[in-house]
């Protein structure tokens, strides 16, 4: 007998889940053939974090109605997390932006206008600014959520068309320090290894990352490895806050915020003192470097430098539960494990010395040779789905052209101009404004027209009030392309509705150098359009207004192409076949035809289709595994470090001293304030905040306070608490919780409500190398204001 429709769906759900776990269910498979729950399943990548989970969207009658994981997936083995769970709701959400909106003055009401008028206004305003104030007066601020094709085309038009390198993106706020770390330590950006190392690692060193909440699907792989090998695998978590990640680690190192550099140097001290280093690896592949001049120094000089970072001294600096013994224990575990894999994210990157912190993690791997072998890697986790693929690789930052080419290198800049067929000298030789400089320039009225795509700097910048003033200026024309209203659309003149994921086609490149194609499955709502169409049409109007054929030249190869597939395909082809050719992120082997054949995409380098069809490169720099390691080999050694930034072909072990945060607690502001994410929300919650389920789970931000501090200050659970820094005040309900250590409070940053928007009070100091702000640490004071009060969740709406 056949099943009822509901029973059929339940059976399907159970069988899908059981397949992921490798369990055979005694259910009748033939019953499943009786009814089609969807008309078709469309393959793609989840877009809610940087892991790159493969997901399938079920479509029925042109509507998204289901999602499922696929057991064969190399990234997530089919498992999904709560964030991915309900995104079909976003696609059909009534708050979606559906038509272009315009207002001449920011105090006016928006009115709906046609695309023709909208693009004409955008072109007129940018052309006007360019003609009156020059190329430095226009800017693009993009996103690690934009598809590679989008970022690539935007930056091409800005650089070659409008002659400005004012091209930035929100990855500056989250992973620029990781970029700096990889380039200065390994000579090349992005991790050497892959997620596949997880199943071969024996020690995990997770620092500055609440992986269990921020990257839960990847964390499942770590824990699976641990559970399958409980006596052989050791998990170390280092974080000032007790989180779900630390609760299931073998050891949790709890140190004061901003003391990480001392801890990492002390681990290196133990490795040297106890001779746990790998002499052959150091001798064959490493060099020691010091200071801005990158002066080469000897191993002996490094030992002398490290000698002051005794575990005893580090324990004094780090405080918390850090003892000399615990430092020695974790250093030994790290060094002597058959394979050690490190993970980190914003806790390390969002520091005034984030690049140094990255360097010091890499140092531990270099000293011990925990690199290039199965299971051994120094692996930075990424927050957004395409910060790596689109922004780092596609030219989305002010100092980097596509294919990891620094703007300031004449030869490489001219190479790009030649490949684009534009006159040499068209791209300025000087990098543009980095993010914080860009919004400072907005404040100063130096930037007159800015295009903000798929991100909300009005909420995500540190010390946000300061920069919102600039965006509110009437002499600064602000265009925003997005799917929902945000804190930034509040400050816009022109709001352009865009297609969402699965409503357009394009590639995301996730944390492990993996490029995956998502093909359009459903139509966007109303008049929403893919960004690639918007940029192309805007550029054509710009060319007319500026009477500049070079602007048109930027989009000429894409004229007349259908926007849902042919247009992004042509852009991807140009980018991969021309711009990545011969670069370390060579993706020539991965055109759409190949990506469509490979459900999990391709890991670069993938210079040929033959190599790409094998999945690409699991481990960089290893001969036999990385085709470029063979091409660039200069000797018979198994590892060939051809990274473009290190001419000596060495990995660099840096001498980096301890450096505390930009703002430490004092008598007036005695607490550390740190910020982060909760599992249910992502970034500014403009998307997740609209999913009722996720908002109900965590409707508003709260301030986490250690029970001892709460007791001392008379603060009870739910009490309203004033959190005050030198920049401003927030009022938040208290969560009294054994999470943050004493004298530290923690606030999630997703809440849009003015009184709870924590980036209004965070500090905008930034790393001098990576220019990434120190979101994670500033000084604050807290005070109980009242007992619990009813609060309402808040989100920007039209």
């Amino acid at each position: 007998m056949g099943l009822s429709r509901r029973e059929f769906l339940k059976t399907t759900a159970a069988l899908t889940a059981a397949a992921l776990a490798g369990i055979d269910l005694p259910l009748k498979g033939e019953d499943l053939a009786q009814a089609a729950e969807v008309d078709g399943w469309f393959r793609g990548t989840c877009r809610f974090c940087g892991v790159g989970c493969r997901v399938e969207l079920g479509v029925k009658n042109g509507r998204p109605v289901a999602i499922r994981g696929v057991p064969q997936s190399r990234t997530n083995m089919g498992y999904l997390c709560m964030k991915g769970m309900l995104f079909y709701q976003l696609m059909r959400h009534p708050d979606r932006l559906k038509r272009p909106l315009y207002r001449a003055r920011k105090t006016d009401q928006f009115r709906e206008i046609s695309w023709e008028e909208a693009l004409d206004i955008a072109a007129e305003k940018f052309a006007q600014a360019l003609k009156t104030y020059g190329p430095a007066s226009v800017a693009y601020y993009g996103s690690g959520q934009a598809l590679t094709e989008e970022t690539y085309l935007f930056q091409k038009v800005m650089r070659a068309g409008l002659r400005t390198n004012n091209v930035e993106g929100n990855p500056r706020l989250c992973m620029a320090s990781a970029v700096g770390g990889y380039i200065t330590s390994f000579g090349a950006d992005e991790p050497i290894g892959s997620y596949a190392d997880i199943e071969q690692a024996f020690c995990f060193f997770i620092i500055g990352s609440n992986m269990a909440e921020a990257h839960p699907v990847l964390f499942r792989r770590v824990m699976r490895r641990k559970l399958d090998n409980p006596d052989k695998v050791f998990v170390i978590n280092a974080d000032p806050r007790v989180s779900p990640t630390s609760r299931i680690a073998d050891i949790h190192l709890q140190f004061e915020p901003g003391t990480d550099l001392a801890l990492l140097n002390a681990m290196a001290y133990v490795i040297l003192e106890e001779k746990l280093y790998n002499e052959d690896f150091i001798k064959n592949y490493c060099a020691f470097r010091l200071g801005k001049q990158k002066k080469r120094v000897s191993f002996e000089e490094y030992k002398k430098f490290i000698a002051v970072y005794t575990p005893e001294r580090a324990a004094d600096i780090c405080k918390g539960n850090i003892t000399p013994e615990i430092i020695r224990l974790v250093a030994r575990k790290f060094a002597t494990s058959p394979a050690t894999m490190s993970f980190w994210t914003m806790g390390i990157n969002q520091r005034i010395r984030g690049v140094w912190a990255n360097n010091l993690i890499h140092n531990l791997h270099l000293l011990t040779g925990q690199l290039c072998r199965p299971g051994a890697d120094s692996f930075s986790l990424t927050g957004q789905p395409n910060a790596c693929g689109g922004v780092r690789e596609g030219g989305g930052l002010c100092h980097i052209l596509p294919g990891h080419r620094p703007v300031k290198v004449d030869k490489l800049r001219h190479q790009v101009e030649d490949l684009w067929g534009v006159p040499r000298g068209r791209i300025p030789a000087k990098p543009g404004y980095h993010t914080m400089a860009m919004f400072s320039a907005v404040n100063q009225g130096k930037i007159k027209a800015i295009w903000i795509n798929c991100t909300s700097p009005a909420q995500s910048l540190p010390n946000a009030d300061k920069y919102r003033k600039g965006l509110a200026r009437e002499d600064v024309f602000v265009v925003v392309t997005d799917i929902f209203p945000t804190k930034t659309t509040e400050l816009a003149n022109l709001v352009l509705p865009t297609a969402f994921h699965f409503e357009k086609t394009g590639v995301y490149g996730c944390t492990e150098r993996r490029s995956q194609l998502t093909v359009k499955a459903v139509d966007p709502p109303g008049e929403a359009k893919p960004e690639v169409w918007i940029v192309r049409e805007w550029a054509l109007k710009l060319a007319d207004k500026l009477k500049d054929p070079v602007v048109k030249k930027c989009v000429e190869p894409f004229l007349g192409l259908e926007e849902g597939y042919a247009l992004p395909k042509a852009i991807w082809d140009e980018y991969t076949q021309k711009l990545t050719a011969g670069r370390d992120n060579d993706l020539r082997g991965a055109p759409y035809e190949v990506l469509k054949k490979l459900p999990d995409g391709v890991q670069w380098p993938a210079p040929t289709k033959e190599w790409a069809l094998r999945g690409g490169t699991y481990k960089k720099f290893v001969r036999g595994l990385d085709p470029l390691a063979d091409i660039h080999a200069v000797d018979e050694r198994p590892y060939q470090f051809y990274g473009p930034a290190h001419k000596d072909r060495k990995l660099w072990i840096w001498l980096r001293p301890h450096k505390g945060p930009a703002e430490e607690p004092d008598a007036e502001y005695p607490f550390y304030l740190s910020t982060g994410r909760v599992i249910d929300h992502w970034h500014t919650s403009s998307m997740t905040g609209r999913i009722k389920e996720l908002m109900r789970a965590n409707p508003y931000a709260y301030v986490e306070i250690n029970p001892k501090d709460a007791k001392r200050l008379g603060i009870g659970p739910g009490d309203m608490v004033l959190v005050e820094t030198r920049r401003g005040r927030n009022i938040l309900p208290a969560k009294v919780y054994e999470g943050p250590m004493e004298k530290m409070v923690f606030v999630y940053w997703h809440d849009m409500a003015e009184e709870r928007m924590i980036n209004r009070v965070t500090k905008d100091a930034f790393d001098p190398g990576s220019k990434e702000p120190e979101f994670k640490i500033c000084a604050c004071k807290i005070r109980r204001l009242s007992g619990p009060k009813p609060l309402k969740p808040y989100i920007v709406r039209l």
Binding site: A14, A17, G22, L86, H93, P94, R224, D680, R696
Partner: protein, 97 residues
């Protein structure tokens, strides 16, 4: 009424207690479990809001380290959203005019 297929990952030693806890929840059916600590469940609720709440509360059960979604079907809900019968509630103020 959405239907979700999940794999609950449990510390193997604590699986018996976790299964007891799960048995108390009538909106959830346990289909299978193994020695590695995988528990295959199907959750059926009136709304996906209710499902999300339930998953969050399950994640607090001692012995569970993660709950992953494998399959979600929500055609009814999509229909309700499109017809206006169900509007994902954002009880939020209007911030810009």
């Amino acid at each position: 009424m959405p239907i979700g297929g999940f794999v609950i990952h449990v510390w193997p030693a604590k699986k018996p207690q976790v299964l007891k806890e799960l048995a108390r929840e009538e909106r959830l059916s346990v289909y299978a479990h193994d020695d590695k600590g995988h528990v295959v469940v199907v959750i059926e609720t009136e709304t996906s809001e209710e499902m999300a709440h339930l998953v969050r509360s399950l994640s607090l059960i001692e012995g569970i380290f993660t709950i992953n979604l494998a399959y979600l079907y929500g055609e009814d809900e999509v229909e309700k959203i499109e017809s206006g019968a169900y509007k994902p509630q954002t009880v939020f103020g209007k911030a810009f005019r």
